[in-house]
């Protein structure tokens, strides 16, 4: 804005000073592109570096050549990883855990959000805030008491919870459920009250209102929550690091780090390849759901 004013002062000192919409727009666009490019460079450099490194052999990585160029491209890293049974096990564990966590989260969050948003009962407002506050407690603080709880549980029942991949199905929802419930409360609350009243008058019960009205209408919110839950469980590092140890129980992020670093030997090429391949599923899910998500967001947004 200031830049535009300065230009005007010079060009027409005697005429009344009108602004120029096209000039304002040009300047706004210039700034937008400047920052867009800046952020694109900032965020895309690490994946690009990973990709470059993944195509190099260990010898080339440790050689003192230009790190941003591949002189002898090779797919050995990819072939070795994809044929190694441990990497496939990590991948499978991650996929199973993430899919189940998403399902569990939705099964708990959606009805919880519906109840908190719509069925006004004693303490519902406090409960809704409480749900969100739970999310604010960092997992770095939570894993110790959780660990302790599992130990006590083990003492009482003799059931071993540590070092089992499925225990992550219990642990991850402590992160995903509060946030997803919070998102869904917001989406459900934005649905006009008359809509459920109309459904009530039409003869629907609460279950039918939830499944036939609220979930379809709040589908964009549901997808946002799904993406969130999936991303959190796919990328979660601390909990699996703490709760699982043997290679057949590990998930991808921990697996890559623990098996590809032997002592002080860092197998950089494979680490980078593993991470890159690991990032693929969330990317694919985003790409598929994003169109749908945006379509849902903009449809019917304007009042006819």
């Amino acid at each position: 804005m200031t830049a535009a004013t300065v230009v005007m002062d010079k060009s027409a000192p005697t005429r009344p000073r009108y602004g120029s919409m096209s000039r304002d727009r040009r300047w706004a666009l210039r700034w937008s592109y400047f920052f867009l490019v800046l952020f694109a460079i900032f965020f895309l450099t690490p994946p690009l570096y990973m990709f470059i490194t993944s195509l190099k052999t260990s010898a080339e990585i440790s050689a003192a050549t230009n790190p941003w160029w591949v002189y002898h491209p090779s797919l050995t890293n990819y072939i070795e990883l994809l044929t190694s049974s441990t990497y496939i096990i990590f991948f499978r564990n991650s996929a199973i855990v993430s899919i189940f966590v998403v399902c569990i989260t939705m099964i708990i969050s959606v009805p919880a959000a519906f109840a908190l948003a719509r069925m006004k009962f004693w303490g519902s407002a406090v409960l809704a805030t409480g749900v969100f506050l739970t999310y604010l407690i960092p997992d770095t603080l939570l894993f110790i008491p959780l660990f302790k709880m599992f130990a006590v549980f083990n003492e009482w029942t003799d059931i071993q919870l540590i070092n089992k991949w499925w225990v992550l199905l219990i642990v991850y929802p402590t992160l995903t459920v509060p946030f997803c419930t919070w998102i869904m409360i917001g989406y459900f609350a934005s649905i006009p009250k008359e809509l459920d009243e109309a459904a009530l008058m039409d003869g629907a019960n609460y279950r039918q209102i939830l499944f036939k009205i609220f979930i379809p209408v709040a589908l964009p919110g549901l997808i946002a929550a799904t993406i969130f839950a999936f991303t959190v469980s796919w990328a979660q590092f601390l909990y699996p690091l703490a709760f699982t140890t043997s290679p057949d129980q590990l998930v991808l992020p921990v697996g890559i780090i623990t098996t590809l670093i032997k002592g002080d030997v860092f197998n950089w090429g494979q680490i980078m390849t593993g991470a890159l391949l690991g990032a693929a599923p969330p990317l694919i899910i985003y790409a598929f759901l994003m169109d749908y998500y945006i379509a849902g967001l903009t449809a019917g947004a304007t009042k006819g």
Partner: protein, 365 residues
């Protein structure tokens, strides 16, 4: 087809009484309009009939059966909301058939009913559209269609025309009346617009501050309001209210509006007003009963001179505004009577249509 009965129905929000012990009998096939300013409890009353609000006291009965604790879905009523409340993700057809599908009606029956309702409302071409592709008036028709297909005991309308523009509102008003004449379902209709109330209702219920002021046929309310509130609320432009004193004048009574203006009370009303003689009252008269004085003046006409301050030509008539001892008064005159701002005009008050209101109770004498 159903009668709806309200007995001493009370609604309290915490300590605030939104509806105070109202009694109302709605006959089968009747079109009843609840009208009043915002916050008068009319919508709350409707929602209590619907079952969307629980009631604090009293009882609501449908066909003699008390439904206080019956959930909305089992009351067999259909409601049309102010903002239409159409399901945005469903087509018009799905919207209209939703209630029937929930009750597991056979497909052919649903198809038949939806087509029939669509025909009545002239929305057959819209059945495949989504609500967002419809205009306000079309959405309102769909909302009505959704109510009609259910073939419920009672229709409930909650200010259904408030979101429409003026022209469409008049059209839809006629539409609603036409539909009611066709389907003859007991209807309770809430509005703050007295014109809607007058034009639609078999009986109008005027509400104010959680109480019923008066119940009656539209014309009866217009000509014989029971209270000052009803007198002022029904009719547009509103009735003129002037402070006055009722004076003895020999055998008769005089209404004194100012030092210079006093009317003789029509002989047939003297008996009725005599107990209030000597009191300070409010004189009420509608604008159409304050006209230009004509030469062939009929009985019970009181003439006076008025200094015209504002003239509003309406085409078929002209509104004139003038003051009587500091109170602005509106009269309704012939457009050819030649009213001019600043000029004095001979006006006539039609005293057969006057009202005297007791200031303390607000009741019309």
């Amino acid at each position: 087809m159903a009668q709806v009965t309200l007995r001493k129905v009370v609604k309290k929000y915490d300590e605030v009484e939104a509806v105070s012990a109202i009694d109302l009998d709605i006959a089968d096939k009747e079109f009843v309009v609840l009208v009043g300013p915002s916050g008068c409890g009319k919508s709350t009353t409707l929602r209590m009939i619907a079952g969307l609000e629980d009631i604090t006291g009293g009882e609501i009965a449908v066909d003699g059966e008390i439904v206080n604790d019956v959930p909305p879905k089992d009351r067999d009523m259909a409601m049309v909301f102010q903002n239409y409340a159409l399901y945005p993700h469903m087509t018009v057809y799905q919207n209209m058939s939703f209630g029937l599908r929930l009750k597991h009606f056979p497909k052919e029956e649903i198809e038949k009913r939806v087509q029939e309702a669509a025909r009545i409302l002239d929305i057959t071409d819209l059945l495949d559209r989504k609500p967002r592709q419809l205009s306000g008036g079309q959405r309102q028709r769909v909302a009505m269609g959704r109510a009609i297909v259910r073939n419920p005991k009672v229709f409930l309308f909650d200010e259904p025309l408030s979101n429409l523009d003026a022209k469409l509102r008049v059209q839809m008003r006629t539409e609603i009346k036409r539909v009611h004449q066709k389907v003859r379902t007991t209807t309770v209709y809430v509005t703050h617009d007295q014109v809607e109330a007058m034009t639609l209702a078999d009986r109008v219920v005027v509400m104010n501050r959680g109480r019923i002021e008066q119940i009656g046929a539209p014309n009866f309310l217009y000509h014989s309001p029971a209270t000052r509130f009803v007198a002022g609320f029904i009719g547009s432009p509103a009735m003129n209210f002037l402070p006055c004193r009722l004076e003895q004048a020999g055998d008769g009574l005089n209404v004194r509006l100012s030092d210079s203006i006093a009317f003789a009370v029509p002989a047939e009303r003297v008996q009725r007003y005599r107990p209030a003689a000597g009191k300070e009252l409010t004189f009420g008269i509608r604008p159409e009963h304050l006209t230009e004085a004509k030469t062939n003046g009929s009985k019970n006409l009181a003439t006076f001179d008025a200094g015209i301050e504002v003239v509003e030509p309406m085409g078929n008539e002209t509104m004139v505004f003038f003051s009587i001892s500091g109170t602005e008064v509106c009269g309704r005159i012939d457009p050819n009577a030649g009213a001019r701002v600043g000029a004095s005009m001979k006006m006539a008050a039609h005293l057969d249509h006057m009202h005297l209101i007791d200031n303390a109770s607000g009741r019309v004498l």
